[in-house]
Each structure stands twice: as C-alpha cells, then as structure tokens.
Symmetry: C2
Subunit: 410 residues, 2 copies
C-alpha cells in the first residue's frame, strides 16, 4: 500500500486505490516538482465494516477515513519515519515554509519540519495525519455516518487517548512501517505520543513529548469546561445536530476560541505585544474592540471559525480531561521492558501545560528506567511557545533526531 | 437628611421622604431589634433634573437612585464613618454574619464588617452602597429611564471611575458627613478608593485598597473582553434592549461568570478543592458535569443569574479597563498636599490582580509622600482571597482602623 501511495508522488490529479479490504487511498498531489519536501496529501479509509474501529470505552465506527500528509521519502529499510501528532486545533499540514507560487500555507510546525529543519525532510520520512475526532479530513463527530446519511453528532463515541493511538497505528501499518524512528507531538499531540509509548513501545525507537501533560490540572479542565459550555449553550448547537438543522454554534465557538487562545499565551507576552494600546488612534470608547488586544482576540475567533468544528472541539478537549495514564499502576509495564530514548520539553511561561506537568511525565518515565532528556526553555510566549522558534529548542530536537538517525544507521 | 434616615432605625415599613430638592429617601428597615448591627437599608434619589449626574466622559442622567445599607451609629461629631466600595459583582449588603431568624444572608464582606469585626459596627458607622452602573438597587444601564419609560440599555453613558466616586460623594453628603474616617474596598472597590483618594483626598482620613490595580494588565482586559463577547454574542442580548425584547442573555452571562470566577481562583486552590474528582461516583462519561469542578462552575453561573445583570457586567468591566489614573502626570497633585495614611493589601496567589499591580499603586502613592502600609499575604485562594479570612489579613485591617479611630479621638 505504501508503494502505491508513494508511486503517485509528483503527479497531479486524484488517485483512488480501492483495495480488496475496502481500504482505499485517495492521493491528490498538489505540489508538483516545485515542492522540495515531496509532499503527498492523502485520504485513506483505514477502518471498514469488516474491520471496524472499536473504541476503548464503548462504541465502534464502521468507517474511519484518515487525512494525512507525508513529506520526504521513506528509505529502503523503512527506518527513517517520523510520526507527527498535532494539538487540539492542528491538522495534517504540519510541515513546510509555504509557497505562494503553489498557494500553500506554512505548516503549523514549519519551524520544525522541512528541508534542513530539525525534522529534515531531506533525510526523514514524515507522517502527519489529522487525528480521530478531528474536522480536517479525518473522521470526526461532524462527519457523515455512511450508515445513516446524517452527521454523527453526539452519537460519536467518546474518545479515549488509546483510540487516537489505534488510528495512528493503523495509518503506520497502511504505510507499511513496522517501527517508527520517532513519534513527536506537542500539547494534545504530546499526550498521544505518551499514550502510544506506553501502549506499544516497540513501535517507536524514540519519543518526543512537548508542552504536554499526563494529567491535566483542575484549572486546565475548568477552562476547557467553560469553552464547552460556550459551545453547548449556543442556540445554534442544537444538541449537536447543527449540521442537519442548518445552524452553527458560531458565537459559542468564537468565545471558546478567544478564551482558550488567551490561556495559550503568557501575561508578559500579551503585555509586550498589545499593552493597553488602542486598536485605532481615533475611536469612541464603548464596547467594541477599543483595545488592540480585543481586536486581536476577535481576529483569532474569525480565522478559527472556517477551519474548526464545534463538536470536534468538545470531543478533543474531553479526551484530554480524561487522560490520566499513570493512574493505572501497570501503566509503565510495557515501556519498562522496551524503553526508548525520550525527549520531554516544556516552557517556563506555559501556565496551561506547566513545566510541573512535564516533570510528572519525566519522573514517571524515569521510574520505569526510560532514558529521558528533559529541558525547560525560558521562552516567554506561554503554551504556544512550542510552535515558535526559541533559543535552543529546535536545536535540541534536531540533535535528538540526528542522534536517533545515526543510531539506527549504525 | 441623615437624621431622617437614622430616625427610621428599628422600625418596620417604608419611609418616603420627599425633599424640596426632589431628593428623597426610601428607608425599609427589615432588621428590627434582633439586629445587633443597627442595619438600615435605604434607597435615595441623589440626582434629580435640577442637579443631574454629569458624567466625566460624556452624557448625563437626570435621576440616579442609590441603594445602600448602613450599619452602626454615626457619632456626634460624625467622625466614625467608614465607606465600603464593593467589587464588580458585589452589592450594598456587605456586612453582618447573617441571621436565619430574619432570613438575612451574610454580607459579602462579613469577615470584615460586624460587631467585633475589624470594621466594628459597635464603634464605626458603616456606609455601604451599591455602585453606579450596578443592578442591585442603584441606577444602572438596565434601570428604567424615567424620561422614556424604557431601560437605558447601551444609551447609558460610559462610566469613568470618577463617576462612581461622584455618586459616592453625593451619598456621603446625603448622610451629612464631610469627612470619612476611612474608605475601603477590594478589587473594583479598591480602584474606586484610589480614584477618590486622588480626586478628593480631604474627604477621607484614611484609605484601604485591597487586591486592586491602578492599571489592568493586557491579560486582565482580555479576560473581561471575552466575558463581554460571551454576553454580546448571545442572541438574547438584542443590542442591549433585552428588557424591552423580553429576552435575557442568560447563556452568555453564565459563560462570562464561569470564566471570570475561574480567574478569581488560584490553580492550587482549584486543585486542592476539586482535584479531578468526579461529580458523582456513578456516571456515564460525556459532556455533562462529569468532574466536580464542572458542577461547581455551573452552580456559580446558576446562582449568579438571578442576582446580576448583563449590561451592568459590560459597564463595570469596561470602567476597570479604562482606569489608568497615573497616566495623568498631575494625578497625585492633590493627594501630595493632603496625604492620608493608606493601607494596600494584595495576595500572592492572586493572578488576576497581582501583587505587582498593588506595588505600582504603592510606588506611585509613596512618590507623592503618602504614608503607605503595604502587605502581601500568602493566602492561596487567588483573587477571591480578599473575601476570606487569612492569617493576619483581617487583623491588619483591624489594627489600621483602630489606629485611625484613636487618632481622630485624640
């Protein structure tokens, strides 16, 4: 299957590869020869009725489509694959600096992924899917249930972090890879990496967990709870059946995003960037966006709406709330027998996923004799620091991955 | 006028005193002889067409009613009056432990005000109004404009901190008091105290400013902005004409309250109190209040709705956003000539009105040769610490006020 997918590289048009197992791949390569990253954008139906996705808690889905991008080229012995797990509102488009000629936007982790970057697409084969429950191409609660012709809505099964991993594993198999050189992710993505490393440590040679947590604080859960309240109390939410109703919980999702975005930035960063500056030199004080920070928050909501779905917001925040792997006393049993070098990074100004939370991950893994490298960076942006260039941060990831590649080539 | 108001003490029923100036007092004493605080609850029309309230920015109101409570007894030389300024969602009922026999609830600052408390109602005469723009008896944006028979809505003039002080000053005059022994308040209340001390320093012998700020941070403005967005984006808001429309922005106000309440508590306090505890031992995971913290937030919204108004929320947060008295280089001109002993308190765990913000107030006042006592308490609750008993906190206020009383009696 992976050879089929790769065979379509650098061609235009849509390929539908219907396999005997009902698993098919639609590969739409938009990047042509100008793309230095060898990008493939694809949709694969990875679960079908003969082989449905059975959820860890309860429920199953007969069909799951996964949207993903790959960058770079898988080597002969399939030992150079790096798997990217994205955060709550991320998507499959993680890599690359963007190119106005092909109208491609920079990937959300473009500081990390691209030619010559820490995840060097000239040397690594990068797999970057949209996650289960998402709204950026992979099946989620607002997808249409082929069995009913309607959206799943709140009938979509409640997610466990293990379910996200199950789908990632299936994608890995779909691409014909048995062992990943590294799995890496930030925030919710880092939580997925941790779950995967605990569940199936033999599937990855290295793990990179950034600005994540093994157990959200009460405050963190509470912020997500308020965001969900904003969405669910919007009259347009219609008990999650808004697609059929022809409405959208636009205002609630806007408020959720504005509040969340605020918690992803540090107080100092907000002060440095916006201060108490007015949005315009000439304005009448009132209840519009008088201050620059208000205009910025409204802008964040505006650009978020067309690219995100309210039900995905509910499901993907909830999976984080419930994530607490080390509550199971046997959580580290497998990883203790198959430890992989693990890099954990946090940012001092991140008050939503604080360094204290990363240190819990480090302590638990170290107790299981995992070789953990931990570093807290003094980046001042807050949680969103993991998306930005910071002195030493990308360099450390680069060093860690170079060492990983050298070891596998030994 | 004060004698008339006081004359109604310990009687039942409603008194309407129509004065030649159209200023009248309605005194409804509910407390009878069981009340050890000598409570008077009253409404006074303090501004009338002959003498309207002219706002600092723009606009005027022909009528302003102020709802207030008083506790204790004004002494002969009227030198024992302590004026209380409440916070954003407070009201006139600040004092007393409450009494189930008279169905009186504890005052919001009952740790501070009552017989034997720091603001000892056996010795001080306490004046405690609802503020201008409020919704707890004093004229605010949801009050009916007598000139139109409709609510003011967004036609209510935008508030400046000076306007709140103007109304406080008028109440003080109404009660026949020329100089207050002390003015004290927390949060928005502390900001009013600061403005009053800067504007009319001769009107107070002492000032107490708790958990306040002279200039909100960008983050603080941003949180209030999101709260306002939640309210204004609620379809029930109807551009502020919801009273006429027969709707209410209930969901938006709920979300605003839940988010704000969260910012008034520290991460540690939330963790200690709620942790990751489920709300019920037996529940099906989903999107209801699975966690105890979620149930708590919903409860906070529920009890808030009947006692607070969405337009007041807009106006009273906005007056804080714009408050920045020391931006005026002449701000301390008057207070430097008439300095009063000032107590400033902050709480280490308060991340919304941080100690750094109190220290700015301290530095500015000290530069103006005001004798400032500053203390940061290690209370762990967060911003709401100012409402709670903390080792040394109420004691320091008591000591400060006792010294104040002793000095005036010298």
């Amino acid at each position: 299957m992976v050879s089929q997918a790769l065979a379509t590289t650098n061609t235009r048009g849509v390929h539908l590869t219907v396999l005997a197992s009902h698993i098919w791949t639609s590969t739409d390569t938009k990047w042509d020869v100008m793309d230095p990253m060898n990008t493939i954008t694809a949709d694969a139906v990875l679960f079908a009725p003969e082989n449905p996705l059975v959820f860890a808690r309860a429920g199953q889905l007969d069909y799951v489509t996964v949207h993903y991008e790959t960058y770079g080229t898988l080597n002969e012995d399939k030992s150079n694959a790096v798997f990217i797990c994205h955060a709550l509102t991320g998507d499959a488009h993680s890599g690359g600096a963007g190119d106005p000629r092909t109208k491609t936007k920079p990937g959300w982790w473009h500081i990390m992924i691209g030619p010559g970057k820490p995840v060097d697409t000239d040397r690594f084969f990068v797999i970057s899917p949209n996650l289960l429950g998402g709204c950026r191409g992979t099946t989620g609660p607002s997808s249409i249930n082929p069995n009913t012709g309607q959206s799943y809505g709140l009938d979509f099964p409640l997610l466990d972090m293990c379910d996200l991993v199950t789908v990632h594993q299936r994608l890995m198999a779909h691409l014909g890879i048995e062992r990943l050189l590294a799995v890496m992710g930030g925030s919710l993505g880092g939580m997925q990496v941790l779950q995967w490393a605990l569940t199936a440590p033999t599937e990855m040679a290295n793990a990179i967990i950034i600005a994540a947590s093994s157990r959200l604080t009460t405050q963190n859960i509470a912020f997500s709870a308020v965001a969900r309240e904003a969405i669910m109390r919007d009259p347009g939410f219609k008990d999650g059946r808004y697609i059929e109703a022809g409405t959208k919980p636009t205002e609630g999702l806007s408020v959720a995003r504005m509040m969340a975005h605020l918690t992803y930035m540090s107080e100092d960063r907000l002060g440095d960037r916006f201060g108490r500056n007015p949005q315009n030199a000439d304005f009448t004080p009132g209840f519009e966006a008088d201050f620059a920070i208000e205009s910025y928050l409204r802008h964040q909501a505006k650009v978020f709406l067309p690219r995100f779905d309210a039900l995905s917001y509910l499901y993907l925040t909830r999976v984080m709330d419930y994530f607490d792997p080390f509550a199971d006393p046997d959580a580290t049993k497998l990883i203790a027998d198959n430890p992989m070098p693990t890099l954990v990074c946090s940012f001092a100004s991140d008050w939503r996923f604080s360094s204290e939370q990363s240190k819990v991950v480090v302590a638990e893994l170290a107790n299981a004799h995992v070789e953990v490298t931990y570093r807290e960076f003094q980046a001042g942006v807050g949680h969103d620091s993991f998306l930005m260039e910071t002195r030493g941060y990308t360099k450390l990831v680069q060093t860690f991955l170079n060492r990983a590649l050298a070891e596998v080539n030994k």
